[in-house]
């Protein structure tokens, strides 16, 4: 596409590099910014620059944070459980459920040989060290990884590594989503939810 302005073309080019944003959406965003007061664009670019310059990763749990102190330790109520996730947004998603109040550990990815990501490329060894140095305080590790082949591979590898530490390793359950109809569930999910069926209790 040929733009009437080089500056517009350049902005569209950069915006459309972002995932899920094509050239048309990028042009719509550019037009929106041009219609808004200058301050909107300034606030946006300042916040992006500050983000990229100021962001830190916690040395213990690898959560994205403003300081190098461990935010997950201070925020968690129960320091005996560590929930292992792939990325920081997973931490927010789990915390938003209100069903978990333990600590977290962000792997920073999942084992994926095709993409050249082995166990050493993600934060597995630091998880082992963290549990070992807790002197028995950590009793359980909850694996909350994505339900893909790579997520399962990572879960399998982690379980093997953690078994030696003599702690309980659990995983979030896979199954039919709440509100989901059986008819529309895919075969693999349905098959797994039958395999991992649990006893119905009336409390």
């Amino acid at each position: 596409m040929e733009y009437t302005s080089k500056l517009v073309g350049q902005a569209v080019e950069e915006i459309s590099k972002l995932p899920g944003i094509g050239k048309k959406s990028a042009l719509r965003l550019v037009m929106h910014l041009l219609k808004q007061p200058k301050e909107h664009t300034e606030l946006l670019t300042v916040s992006l620059n500050e983000l990229r310059a100021g962001i830190k990763y916690c040395g213990t749990c690898h959560i994205i944070s403003d300081s190098s102190d461990c935010t997950c330790k201070t925020m968690s109520v129960d320091p005996s459980i560590i929930c292992v996730v792939e990325e920081t947004p997973d931490v927010l998603a789990i915390r938003n459920t209100g069903q978990y109040n333990g600590m977290f550990h962000v792997l920073g990815g999942r084992i994926s040989p095709i993409d050249g990501i082995g166990p050493d490329e993600i934060a597995i060894s630091s998880l082992i060290k963290r549990i070992e140095s807790s002197a028995g305080e950590v009793k359980e590790v909850v694996l909350a990884l994505s339900g893909t082949l790579e997520g399962d591979t990572t879960a399998f590898y982690l379980t093997r590594q953690l078994e030696a530490l003599n702690i309980l390793v659990t995983s979030i359950t896979r199954g039919i989503p709440v509100g989901g109809e059986l008819e529309y569930a895919d075969e693999v999910t349905l098959g797994r939810s039958i395999l991992t069926r649990s006893q119905v209790k009336t409390y």
Copy 2:
């Protein structure tokens, strides 16, 4: 949503102000930028700042451009037709069809009393002046406005104004999209396409 980092929260806040981007998408974009080299974010923010600071509007046709010179006059082959559109992206869309080689005139919006936009808020008077000062060179005005109530209102108002200038006023046709099936067309479009039916010719 409570973020682990204020900087992330601030960036998500600013990104989600853009149209069509919610908090979840904004967080995904933030995570993407954090995974990319710093230069990506810099290129993005620099291009946005340059866009907002350097952009100009042509004094004649109101197309967004890098200079105040009229790009549409130099780019058009046929200076006897002016195509009237709402925004600059419409110019790109029409030029990309390869079916039009005349000039353009960007109104910068459409008449919408609900939003407080009357005929004086959009570039109608400058269109009239432009045609009057062309000394008879402009023979036709093509209205390429959106098929909404506001677009139709604008088209009606413009036609009334242009009739006095003794030039041909045409409009892009409304109808079933090419490749579209009748079954799925909405009633209004179908109704209009029957009303404005044209003779079938075999050339």
